[in-house]
């Protein structure tokens, strides 16, 4: 394992310390590293709290700040944060208008956030499940929440800043989640620091189609295909799943998994955009970069969110976080 670290046990806290030190103008760290929060709160605004396993940086800590989250709870690598973290975060950032938890659909996360919600007053939850790689079929667990979570957090974050109340915010988040589809492909495995070796073996000429952001296996193992062929299959899965909804304006988000350089991500964006536009989708907003990662995994995901005037407006609204910033 080749990583910049001092010891497996301190990777997370040292990284969090560095993160908050580098962004001390807008962020504070909670006691015992339980959460990252905005330095300045806006009384009367619904508090948005997300979190999940670490290893997906900049998600979620990188999205704390004006126009997005109020707090993020980092779990151990690929492991849910525990309810005491969410409770401490809620206590720190809820100014009285209630809390909205944004949770990726993994059982560990869902159950931990559920317990925190049950132990609190005035909490609503949005569970994101944008990954079309896992087909709905017989699996009651349902789809995973992946890169589309960023889109939900951005749009709901802007709406909260705009003054929306808890119930309409939850409705908006669910609507954005329903309008969002993602799928990813891995070229290499990630290496979890505590494991010290790659999560899965993959041959030089192979790729894993429909991989999750924790190195979970995907739809199938395949030989390494061209960028166009990969984009074709991912886009077909997204379009097929969206069905009639895949018409009109959309946000196209090409996300790197941590080990894939921008040059390749923009190339994938180029392929995917051409495919979507051929199918009647108008790419009116774009995001390309490594925002929802899987440690050092080489690979990428493609996310499409169908937009309307309201969600476009909230996407465009000013945001000032460590990882996403515009308009201010």
């Amino acid at each position: 394992m080749k990583k910049f670290m001092n010891s497996v046990d301190t990777v997370l806290i040292e990284s969090l310390d560095g993160f908050v030190a580098a962004h001390a103008d807008i962020l504070l760290l909670g006691d015992e590293h339980k959460f990252i929060r905005r330095k300045t709160l806006r009384p009367g605004k619904v508090a948005l709290i997300s979190g999940g396993g670490s290893g997906h940086e900049p998600l979620h800590g990188g999205f704390v700040g004006h126009g997005m989250l109020d707090a993020a709870c980092p779990g151990q690598v690929f492991t849910s944060p525990t309810p005491d973290q969410m409770l401490a975060a809620a206590q720190a950032v809820d100014t009285g208008a209630g809390c909205l938890f944004i949770v990726k659909n993994y059982e560990g996360d869902v159950m931990n956030f559920d317990m925190a919600a049950e132990m609190s007053e005035g909490v609503q939850q949005i569970v994101t499940n944008d990954d079309v790689a896992v087909e709905n079929s017989s699996y009651t667990t349902g789809r995973r929440g992946v890169a589309g979570t960023l889109v939900v957090e951005k749009i709901v974050g802007a709406a909260a800043e705009h003054g929306l109340a808890l119930a309409p915010l939850k409705a908006l988040g669910d609507r954005v989640n329903t309008a969002t589809r993602s799928m990813g492909v891995a070229l290499t495995s990630c290496t979890v620091p505590a494991a010290g070796k790659p999560t899965f073996d993959i041959g030089d000429g192979e790729m894993e189609f429909g991989v999750g952001i924790h190195g979970e296996p995907g739809r199938r193992r395949d030989t390494l295909k061209s960028a166009d062929d990969i984009a074709e299959e991912i886009c077909a899965a997204i379009l097929g799943d969206l069905g009639d909804k895949a018409k009109g304006p959309a946000l196209l988000f090409v996300n790197g998994f941590g080990g894939t350089p921008l040059m390749e991500l923009y190339l994938m964006y180029n392929s995917a955009r051409a495919i979507f536009e051929k199918h009647g989708v108008a790419v009116t907003r774009s995001l390309v970069g490594s925002y929802v990662t899987s440690l050092d995994m080489a690979g990428c995901s493609i996310t499409l969110t169908m937009l309307d005037d309201e969600t476009t407006k909230f996407w465009d609204a000013p945001v000032h976080t460590a990882a996403l910033r515009w308009g201010m």
């Binding site: 525990t82 309810p83 559920d114 317990m115």
Partner: protein, 213 residues
């Protein structure tokens, strides 16, 4: 008829914690096949935390409900994996089932045991046959209840529970997971024992030992 007091319950957590440490690597290995290889770590962490938390209580001044809630909370906050909320809910429901009692008799313990299984099922929403710890816990709870109803004492009831759990865990090998991390594997999960079911056997066996020996 045994009488279980809070000191005994505290010792029960110590016994489970010891058993989990011993079983850790096997559970991680099982989880490595169809999950993320951390189940043994999670269970050891959770029960060690629970053991320490209940050991810190003043047994004389604590009722079983408080002890079980303390265990639940410390387990929950120690473990980020799925097993955290599942076992925390189990102990919270167990705590509720014995509310108001200062010591527990045989049937109280069986009620506590059944409430634990129910708590896991409510939290995880798994049905038997989905290849989870419920495939050990549900038959175990049923067996304990039936044994008690048929006149067995606590030792006999927990003995029946342990055996049912073992059989249930064994049966998960033939199941395709439809809950939990392994559910994404589809048919690839066939042939492997569910780690949560395997650890349930260890937990139940340790409870039996601690409460009846």
């Amino acid at each position: 008829m045994t009488t279980i007091d809070t000191a005994r319950l505290a010792r029960m957590f110590a016994t489970i914690a010891t058993a989990m440490s011993a079983d850790r690597d096997r559970l991680c290995a099982l989880d490595g096949v169809i999950g993320d290889a951390d189940h043994g770590i999670a269970m050891e962490l959770g029960f060690s935390a629970a053991r320490d938390a209940v050991a810190a209580l003043d047994a004389g001044a604590t009722d079983p409900t408080t002890l079980l809630n303390t265990a639940a909370k410390s387990f929950l906050n120690a473990v980020g994996a799925s097993s955290g909320p599942l076992y925390a809910t189990a102990f919270m429901r167990g705590a509720a089932a014995v509310k108001g009692k200062t010591t527990l008799d045989d049937s109280d313990v069986v009620s506590l045991f059944q409430a634990m299984a129910k708590g896991i099922q409510d939290r995880g929403k798994a049905e038997p046959g989905e290849k989870t710890m419920i495939d050990a816990w549900a038959p175990a709870a049923q067996a304990a209840g039936e044994a008690m109803a048929s006149g067995k004492d606590l030792a006999g009831s927990l003995e029946a529970a342990a055996q049912a759990a073992k059989a249930g865990a064994e049966a998960t090998k033939a199941m395709i997971a439809t809950k939990g991390r392994a559910s994404r594997l589809g048919e690839r999960s066939l042939g492997h024992m569910d780690p949560g079911a395997a650890s349930a056997v260890t937990v139940i066996e340790a409870m039996r030992t601690a409460l009846t020996d």
